[in-house]
Symmetry: C2
Subunit: 197 residues, 2 copies
């Protein structure tokens, strides 16, 4: 029998008591950080290889100071032409965008750009698995909405409207955020996209 020091046991039991209610939101973690942590978990556990793409930047001027590495001294952010996350899961191509809103009943469609919608449509044409993860921070609820339903809604008036939470609930799936991994979206893919439904 292993003789655990008393304080270790106390810590352990405290942790297990609260573990069901800990999630990234009440730990002050941003939604993006929670997704990155989830992807790191998937990678380390050999479950999936999914990365966030680097932010696209237009480099204008680079200095080469003596005895040091190249220094970018003028550059600008460019708008992404694809989604933020992509990778491979059991041979399937995975592609998604993540958005957070404080609104309680809908998410403004201005969160999605025309070229991102086009990219999602192109991915679906190639039989990729494509979706958005939507986090309602005030409600502390997270949903996975298949890209087909996002595209459908976007095309009603070219992204002018807000997408109601009811529409998301009807066509998407709630992700049960947890302590570890924080945003287990592949559970939804397994159950509802690959496994049929």
């Amino acid at each position: 029998m292993v003789n655990y020091p008393h304080h270790f046991i106390r810590k352990q039991s405290k942790l297990s008591q609260v573990s069901k209610t800990i999630n990234f939101a009440n730990r002050g973690m941003s939604f993006e950080a929670a997704i990155n942590a989830t992807n790191n978990y998937y990678l380390s556990q050999k479950i999936a290889v999914i990365h966030k793409k680097p932010t696209p930047i237009q480099i204008v001027r680079v200095d080469y100071p003596r005895r040091s590495r190249a220094k970018i001294v003028e550059a600008y952010f460019r708008q992404a032409s694809t989604t933020d996350y992509s990778g491979v899961y059991k041979g399937y191509y995975i592609d998604f965008e993540a958005k957070e809103t404080r609104h309680k009943t809908s998410i403004p469609m201005k969160n999605f750009h025309a070229h991102q919608i086009k990219h999602m449509s192109q991915v679906l044409d190639q039989k990729g698995i494509c979706f958005v993860l939507l986090h309602f921070s005030t409600l502390r609820e997270t949903y996975l909405l298949p890209a087909s339903h996002l595209i459908h809604f976007y095309r009603i008036d070219n992204g002018g409207k807000s997408m109601p939470l009811d529409y998301i609930k009807k066509n998407g799936y709630q992700v049960n955020v947890s302590a570890f991994p924080q945003v287990p979206y592949l559970d939804i893919i397994d159950k509802n996209i690959l496994g049929g439904d």
Copy 2:
């Protein structure tokens, strides 16, 4: 019958005479530009959705000048932790790196970093299609080498050696570069990877 103006017919026939020998190399196009052009072709023809990832950059300082957009004034290049290209083709996850060398009999393995090799190995574990495109600019020959063979060679002495062209020829496939698309690597995937062989 359509009545083509005379000069148009002349142009057409001149073009078809030389089209078999035009390729990106003798047009002064870089290998990377040729791959990007190929990916644009695949995208526009709805053949595949494959993009080059943005260059990863470490942003240190951003200025917000009045009445203009955010300006990055201090940033540095970071080493890529994955490969440069990824996307989806007929539902398959595609992932590759492209390298060019002026050497005639081998390519230095220092072109590939340890974390890129690790990434390729992770992608293969997830049943992604992963490879490198190697362009021997002096020879004007381009090869597709499946990642498994690159990883195998890299592990002999942790990337210290140069990989001989003979090894690449034995374990890879020559890509017949052409006028359009410039580097039709998906032909190789179709024939030799998906089609069995």
